[in-house]
């Protein structure tokens, strides 16, 4: 089993900065792993391991911004907190435009980093939960027969059993059976819940 404990991933080429941040995380009980370069992170990163990424913008070789964009291409969801020694606005804008969670300038206030890390980890957990929910709904949808799919489509469009029976050329009784199967397979306790599920995955 791979370790999926939410973890602070620290990527900074500077030994001092990297290990000081790891120590700060440790001091508040947050597990942390460190990487000395963007390439090292890409090699060692396990996408299923949640948490957040504390990323230096300026590094020799692949820059922090380039790593963020590479992660986006790979569909990674991990929130990125940039830290930089240069508060250059264009770079911050670029980072935020690509979905950065935060942009902090070195030296940063420790509490600020800790707060932002905790918020980012919270966000990551929520994102992962909703992704998991999304996947579950998709799996349930996949288990429906073509007929059940048709019934669910009409059902979520607010059609009554009688109307559905007419449109599908079925008996009302058959529609009721399909409808019960849909609710059961989708694990929906109410029509409202079923509608929310279909909205979620659209």
């Amino acid at each position: 089993m791979r370790d999926t404990t939410p973890t602070v991933h620290i990527v900074d080429d500077d030994d001092g900065v990297r290990s000081s941040i790891r120590m700060l995380m440790k001091s508040v009980g947050l597990p942390a792993v460190t990487f000395a370069s963007a390439q090292e992170f890409l090699t060692g990163y396990q996408p299923e391991r949640g948490g957040c990424l504390v990323l230096d913008i300026r590094m020799p070789g692949m820059s922090g911004l380039e790593l963020q964009q590479e992660l986006n291409r790979r569909g990674a969801v991990i929130p990125v907190i940039f830290i930089t020694g240069h508060g250059d606005v264009p770079m911050a804008v670029e980072a935020m435009r690509h979905g950065a969670f935060e942009f902090l300038q070195k030296p940063f206030r420790d509490q600020e980093l800790i707060d932002r890390v905790q918020q980012a980890m919270q966000r990551d957990q929520e994102t992962r939960e909703s992704l998991r929910e999304h996947a579950r709904i998709q799996a349930r949808l996949a288990s429906l027969t073509p007929r059940e799919c048709e019934v669910m489509e009409l059902l979520t469009a607010g059609k009554a059993n009688k109307v559905m029976a007419h449109e599908l050329g079925l008996s009302q009784r058959t529609v009721e059976i399909h409808r019960a199967r849909v609710m059961e397979k989708m694990e929906a306790r109410s029509l409202a819940q079923l509608v929310r599920m279909t909205l979620d995955v659209q």
Partner: protein, 383 residues
Amino acid sequence: MPSNELQAIMDAAVDAVILIDHRGTMTAFNRSAERLFGYTAVEAVGQNVGLLMPPSHRAHHDQYLERYAATGVAHIIGVGREVEALRKDGTVFPALLSVGRVADSVPARFVGMIRDITAEQQARLKLVAERDRAAAAEMAEQEARLLQERLMRVGRLTTLGEMAAGIAHELNQPLSAIATYARACERFLALENPDLEESRAATREIAQEALRAGAIIQRLRQFIASQTSVPSAVNLNLVIEHLTPLIMADARLHSVGITFDLDQKLAPLNGDSVQLQHLVLNLVRNAIEALSGNADPDRHIVIRTDASGSPELLSVCDNGPGVPPQMVNRLFMPFVTTKPDGTGLGLSISQTIARAHGGSVGYRPAEPRGACFFMRLAGDPRP
């Protein structure tokens, strides 16, 4: 009248010998005098000796004789003096004149001996001129040296100026780490059961980082302040190692990877370590700038020293776009630059430094792409 012996002595003399009476009338004129002045003895004898002087001196001579007659005090006798003499053909020449009084002669008679010193004077003037020229040349050389030293220093400052952002960043790193370690330490100590082990580790790191910041400042100060140092045995590897904090600062700022490939067998060379630092830094800066516009994240520079006898004693190679072919021949010309805000002095100064070390800086394209600048030393047959 001189006796035959006296006449023989006079005629054998190398110098012109002339006898005059108290009025300045010549009474004897020897062979050398004939050769020197162009008059025959027959022409000269009986004439006033003023005949042999430029007109401006004649009146003075009469005064000298009158004064001597009146006071008995001679200003020239036994001393000798440099005078100007006039030949029959009207040319004036420098001469050394010595005068003696004929003993017991009343009224006084004098003997004058005259030597042409044209050659001596010319030699002396030439010597003086040569000395002046040498002094002027030395002054010019010194001035050139000072100017060059100043140019080098300006070059170093310019290079540093371009690197200022990177250096600021580099100093910010340890400061940032120190602040973070200190905060972590504070938190470890504030725990219900203070974690002394972690706290100690944090303080150790803080000290380490402070030293690191100090080292960066020291390198910086060395690089800026040092005058051209006295040539000494310099290890090129050490020169590069000293520059590492500055190089990494710049590399980090531009997200460029650096590989140091230093040949530990490298022999020391006789040189100026500050100038060599400047040369290395210039080449590395150029490489970093060449890469900074590259979208490809694989931006890389290899700094290499080679003791194998290869012409590339030191090389700095990047994997950037390389030098456009039309620029290759003008690379080392001063004020030629492809950068919008470049001075065009970096490579030209580097070339000057390499030449001062009996070598040169060269360029070749890198494989498969990029630019390679290298320094070779004398004795290398490559152009």
